[in-house]
């Protein structure tokens, strides 16, 4: 125990941005009260839940994954299965029909789903870490009562922020909301809206007073039948089963009370939940990396022989495989450490940017290598490897591009020097 403590203390990070997991779990002087646990140690219910999601992914999602990708469409059975298994209301309190589980549970779900199908994972991620979180955190009691139970049991949610001229510069958005006394009137359009094809609940960011700039941005909650129109569905390189749509709002009437948080605080709300959402996307990326790695290493060590031995027995292969394993482990540690920081109520913005940046790099590198390890077979659509590789690319683009993540990290470093 003494030796372990010494090593751990010596390895304690010096940089300001890498804080220990939780102050309350500080090192103690006696072995008997040594309570700090490894970052990847989950609670009993988290472990059980991880098993449930893994089983659901293998038995329900995997058999549909290729067909959903080819059809560029989610299978309704998969979406229904997500609801039935409780994956669409992970953090939603029990009184609203959810499980009342931890944020880490939501992250676990995304990783386990992404090991099998990244489109299913992002549907779940956007629904859990953006839509549910916003409604839970900022909704009035009436909104929570109306929307949380149906988001947990039957309605997919969608988060509508980006527009054709406002992507990274999100708060330059042009969609307008006019106060009409007893209702809001929304006009404008949105682009790159994940889940829009399946969604029945939409969180729409619109400006109530463009003269106030970003301080006019407000978050509204709308039902599809209020008149949300899908103008176009994008055809994409990866996560093809996940719907990404252009939406148009043409005199969309929203009840006066359907505002999340205060009027004019939409930008704050969006920033907060996007920071959290990055941890979810990072988790999706480690899932992709692990899924590709697992299949390709099975192939290398159990299936494919050349020159009289398994290709995994060649040192050139072994070293590449070992490198990939290190990258995945490092990314996973970052992801779950950031999730625990968020749960502990600590600042995690920089860490979220770091883990999202790094995990998406790792997913792209590992999935790319995994295709190579499997050679011609990896390049065909018989195997899921080419899909993992295509699905990984979006990780460097959505919920803040890699450049935006780097900028966030650099800003934090600059602040510490000023």
């Amino acid at each position: 125990m003494q030796a372990v403590r010494f090593i751990k203390q010596a390895a304690r990070p010096a940089a300001k941005v890498l804080r220990p997991v939780a102050v309350s779990r500080a090192f103690s002087s006696s072995a008997a009260t040594f309570t700090r646990s490894p970052v990847l140690e989950f609670s009993e219910e988290e472990e059980l839940f991880k098993e449930t999601v893994a089983k659901f992914a293998q038995e329900v999602v995997l058999p549909k994954s290729r067909a959903m990708d080819e059809a560029e469409q989610m299978d309704p059975e998969v979406v229904q299965g997500l609801f039935d298994t409780g994956l669409m209301g992970i953090e939603t309190p029990e009184e609203y029909g959810g499980a009342g589980a931890s944020f880490t549970s939501a992250i676990i779900a995304v990783e386990e789903l992404a090991k099998v199908d990244a489109s299913t994972a992002v549907l779940n991620d956007v629904h859990s870490t953006l839509v549910n979180t916003l409604v839970r955190t900022y909704g009035s009691d009436a909104i929570k009562e109306k929307y949380l139970p149906k988001l947990a049991t039957k309605c997919v949610g969608s988060f509508c922020l980006s527009e054709s001229s406002s992507g990274s510069d999100a708060f330059a958005l042009k969609t307008r909301a006019e106060d009409k006394g007893d209702h809001w009137l929304i006009n404008g359009s949105k682009m790159w809206i994940t889940n829009a094809g399946e969604a029945e609940v939409f969180l729409i960011f619109a400006n109530v007073d463009p003269s106030k700039g970003y301080k006019g941005i407000t978050c509204f909650i709308a039902d599809k039948d209020m008149g949300v129109q899908i103008a176009k569905k994008e055809k994409k390189l990866g996560i093809r089963a996940s719907s990404t749509c252009v939406l148009s709002f043409d005199d969309l009437q929203i009840p006066k009370e359907n505002v999340l948080g205060e009027v004019g605080t939409g930008y704050k709300i969006a920033i907060n939940c996007l920071n959290e959402g990055r941890i979810g996307i990072a988790s999706q990326m480690i899932g992709i990396a692990q899924g590709a790695f697992d299949r390709a290493t099975d192939y290398a060590f159990k299936d494919r022989k050349q020159f009289g031995k398994y290709i995994g027995e060649f040192q050139g292969m072994q070293f590449q495989i070992a490198q990939a394993a290190i990258q995945i482990e490092a990314a996973r540690l970052m992801v779950y450490n950031t999730a625990r920081m968020k749960e502990a109520g600590q600042p995690f913005v920089t860490q979220a940017a770091m883990c999202k940046y790094y995990a998406s790099e790792v997913a792209n590198q590992v999935a790319g290598k995994a295709v190579e390890w499997m050679g011609g077979v990896g390049f065909t659509r018989e195997e899921p490897l080419e899909k993992f590789m295509r699905d990984a690319k979006i990780g460097q683009i959505y919920e803040g591009t890699s450049n935006i993540q780097l900028q966030t990290i650099a800003k934090d470093i600059m602040k510490s020097k000023s």
């Binding site: 009993e44 409780g86 209301g89 992970i90 499980a99 589980a101």
Partner: protein
Amino acid sequence: MSSKLRIMVPVKRAIDFAVKPRVNSAKTGVETAGVKFSINPFDDIAVEEAVKIKEAKKGAVESIHVVSAGSSKAQEVLRQSLAKGCDTSTLIDVGDASVEPLTVAKMLAKLAEEDKSNLIILGKQAIDDDSNHTGQMLAGLLNWPQVTAASKVDINESTGEVTVEHEVDGGFETVSASLPMIITTDLRLNTPRYATLPNIMKAKKKPLKTVKPADLGVDIAGRLETVSVSEPPPRPAGIKVNSVDELIAKLKERGAL
């Protein structure tokens, strides 16, 4: 039937079915360090059957009591079973000791008496030691009727008569008996459900009692001694023949024809 069903489901935490077991270096058993453990698959089927009976026979089942003898780690399989629909649970904490089927059966018999169980459903065997003893020994100790390797269970809750189909060489046999009774499960009985997330969280609030073997008046000291555990001998490589004639000649040479 005068009283309601009180079902007991004994479960075991065993090495996961997907793990390839390896003999430990001391040759005393299989390697358990760093190996994934899960609920014994036959026991999972027993849990599912009990929950299905409870769901199908509304009001006829008073409680499902899931029990495991093992270390504190066996709590995982108890929680999982509670999440799938069992009502109460008991851990018989035997520490890291390996307990023999007869010992387990004695402890279960005592618990069944205390709990006034009238139906015990358990796996026909655990996939770690494949003993296939506990259910039968338990039936002997309690002097209850038993049906092993059930593939279909039908309970008439008003008469207390239970009809069970079980697999025998060459087909199925249907037998019936009256409660109280013991049923051991086979693979084809049902397909276990997932523990959904809301139910996993709710299971945290369900009772999990811990008892010691001494509380049940059972001495867990073993009666059997494991002399040695070894891997099956590796299969020798086969040979290739070029023609049917050569095949016949080789078979004759080995006395197979």
